[in-house]
Symmetry: C2
Subunit: 456 residues, 2 copies
């Protein structure tokens, strides 16, 4: 939390098809015909790289989101999409979301190892347990595992894939043409994991990657999520509507990490920010209002109802949301996004329409409307005020909504000495100031049993 | 099988780290330092595209192959690798191997849909059930499922992912900014699959892809494999050492497909060919011998022992392989590769060393050593002689072993009118002359239940 001379903002571009405002695809400046065109995302990533951002980031979930009738809520598969982005960039980090609940650890470990190899060390893993209950039906489960159970598997899952990524020591690859030794099998280790949720023998079928492991990112801010983040995460994505809330979270997470013996500076806290930018504040607010006018109450209401487990009536759009209607107990109450909405209702007593507009901006993330100077001011305020090590930039629409941030806000942040003017390293770990981990197997002389005894 | 004026060879470049000869990585013309460098594979794919090949193809398996001590037998993860190749090419097909035994159908369907979207219709799926028993331990299984059981799951798996790829009809994506309708949810269908091996609800979380479905490729030539190919495959990869064997297979597969009511011309049979090319036949043979000299008996013997389930003695390298030692019964006998080796032993009565060299070329595939004209002659002989619709080209080493094929053999095939001089389409289905399938759901008016009833 101390502001040393070297402390610099970390900035990711969070890419969402169409943009982060729920009506983005309807805005005249967006291109709904290009939502499945990899070229659009490659151009975005190149612009983000030209602006020396740390990373691009893709969310994900293994099911069709609700209400695709009204919003561009299909999914871009992150591994393939980011591999194609890697091919046209050379520095920017590539953070893929992947679920510990609905993937096999061996397959996931391979995908990340490959992304790290082909990008020469730019992969990050946003570790999620999947919130959408409808995913269960796509994987033969009768019900989505409950929150605590998902996190229990997630912890074991991360331990397993960590061992897989470490299973080839860095020195295992020899490739000596003269002697004919391709790999030092004494430095390739089965992991022989047998746990409550998973049994994985290993080793991985690829040499260790440039970063050793992808950067571990985590995005849940629930109690389980914080505990998980404090233990595993090197960067934490989080949603806050106020400086106070962000500050509390920041302090809490750093404290938890320190309590586990970790260096708090190596657990970066990165809230989301969705900026509407105008040449005047009034112009920025008008732009935000224009987006809100494009929302469709059928869509927004249904989303809110699912989140809160409450039914609303369209006739009540302009009445205050009854605080009492929200039942904060049970499984729903464990979700940090649920809690954020309850906080907004308690703090602002909004009408239903106001609440819907508030959430339309970026699904509960911080929406800022202002001039480039004002947006930079808010970023600096959070960054120097103990609330953030940087931000996930969530443009309301793509790609214009990012262009104006890159063209207008980034130069101000650079002038103030808050953000890099050029990359000083090549990997995502370099950008984030994180060390490259040694293999946990380094130095252990356990031979790979299956190849230890060649035929006589 | 009839040779019409339009009948043209299909040629894929089968990419294997280092090359297909087991000692390729030791050859002075190969670059073991670049085996994990995506740039090497991107350059190869661009050269293959410049030579108007149909596709590049990556093998795969979810475990570390045996004997990595002596050979470059790690794995390149196909989806990420081919996505990065897609980014630097525009026409060539991209065929990824993926296992029906060790993946979740929802995840696999997403990866292929994404590869097809981002490549604008160039994805193919080499459907395998995974032969390596050590994969089981990486996925929590006590034992690798037996051959028949794997194929039983494979059939159900293909049915499931086909339905997932069809679950968005082509017209489902509307994206009409004015009306606010993003998708026609009447044209997005849950698949509600409940089978012996799999339960998958669907729909997929992405719109239908340029090709509708990836091209279905299959590579097993066992009895189970042939039945599977006849029913599902649009292209079949196969290994034959003689024209006679290839002809028998070709006729059998076309007959089986016709018996199931399919058009045999839409089941392409593509044997592997691994060409050593020289300016004279003697030079080509000398090159092949040079590679064989680089093999390591410890490695080759162990591989053969695993395949055949027999122990050999290094002292017997120069004695004939005893035919009687090979037990052709049981699970092993079901493998077409096993049968191929038995045939070589019966036909040629090779010494153990000769057999090892024969298999070192391309793991049992057809190895040809000759001048460019001679190689083109053999290709033409098989193509016009009812043995092949084209070939999987398996260069002994990469990338030089492909360059000489592209530079010397392809022009001859073009001059003879056997191979295209330019692409006439943009998708892999175009190149292979295969139709784009309609969604099986087209016209059914089953609404997507979860979004059919928006809140009032």
């Amino acid at each position: 939390m101390t502001g040393t001379a070297e402390r610099r903002l970390r900035l990711n571009l969070f890419i969402y098809p169409g943009g982060h405002h729920e009506a983005a695809w309807r805005y005249h400046g967006s291109r709904p015909d290009r939502l499945l065109d990899i070229g659009l995302y490659q151009e975005l990533a190149r612009r983000a790289e030209a602006a020396t951002l740390d990373a691009v980031f893709l969310a994900d979930g293994p099911s069709l989101p609700d209400n695709v009738r009204y919003a561009s809520r299909f999914r871009l598969e992150p591994f393939t999409w980011l591999a194609a982005v890697a091919a046209v960039t050379s520095r920017i980090g590539l953070i893929a979301t992947a679920s510990t609940t609905y993937t096999e650890p061996y397959n996931l470990a391979r995908l990340f190892a490959s992304l790290d190899h082909l990008s020469r060390g730019r992969a990050g893993w946003n570790i999620v347990t999947t919130g959408a209950p409808q995913a269960a039906g796509n994987f033969g489960l009768d019900a989505h595992p409950v929150h605590a159970e998902r996190y229990d598997r997630a912890r074991e899952f991360v331990d397993v894939v960590t061992k897989l990524w470490d299973s080839w020591e860095d020195e295992a690859l020899i490739a000596d043409q003269a002697s004919g030794v391709f790999a030092d099998t004494d430095r390739i280790h089965p992991i022989d994991h047998e746990g409550r949720h998973l049994r994985v023998r290993g080793p991985l079928n690829t040499p260790r990657t440039p970063q050793g492991r992808p950067v571990y990112v985590q995005a849940g801010s629930s109690e389980d999520g914080r505990g998980f983040a404090a233990r595993y995460a090197e960067a934490v994505f989080t949603a806050h509507q106020t400086l106070g809330s962000a500050r509390d979270f920041y302090a809490d997470l750093k404290r938890r990490a320190a309590a586990l013996g970790r260096d708090p500076d190596r657990v970066l806290v990165l809230p989301g920010i969705s900026p509407f930018i105008g040449s005047t504040e009034a112009e920025a607010r008008a732009l935000r209002d224009e987006f809100n006018e494009l929302t469709q109450p059928e869509y927004s209401l249904q989303l809110l109802e699912r989140l809160l487990g409450v039914r609303f009536d369209v006739a009540d759009l302009d009445r205050p949301v009854p605080r009492e209607a929200i039942d904060t107990g049970g499984e729903r109450g464990a979700s940090s996004r649920f809690q954020l909405i309850v906080d907004v209702i308690e703090r602002e007593r909004p009408t239903l329409r106001q609440l819907l507009h508030r959430l339309a901006g970026a699904r509960g993330h911080w929406v800022v409307a202002g001039t480039p100077e004002q947006v930079a001011d808010r970023i600096e305020e959070w960054f120097t005020g103990g609330a953030a090590d940087g931000f996930n930039v969530m443009p309301p629409w793509l790609s214009g909504g990012f262009d104006v941030f890159a063209d207008e806000v980034v130069p101000i942040l650079r002038r103030r000495g808050l953000f890099r003017t050029e990359y000083t390293g090549t990997t995502l770990r370099d950008h984030y100031g994180l060390p490259r981990p040694r293999s946990t197997f380094a130095g252990r002389r356990a031979p790979l049993s299956t190849t230890a005894a060649p035929a006589p």
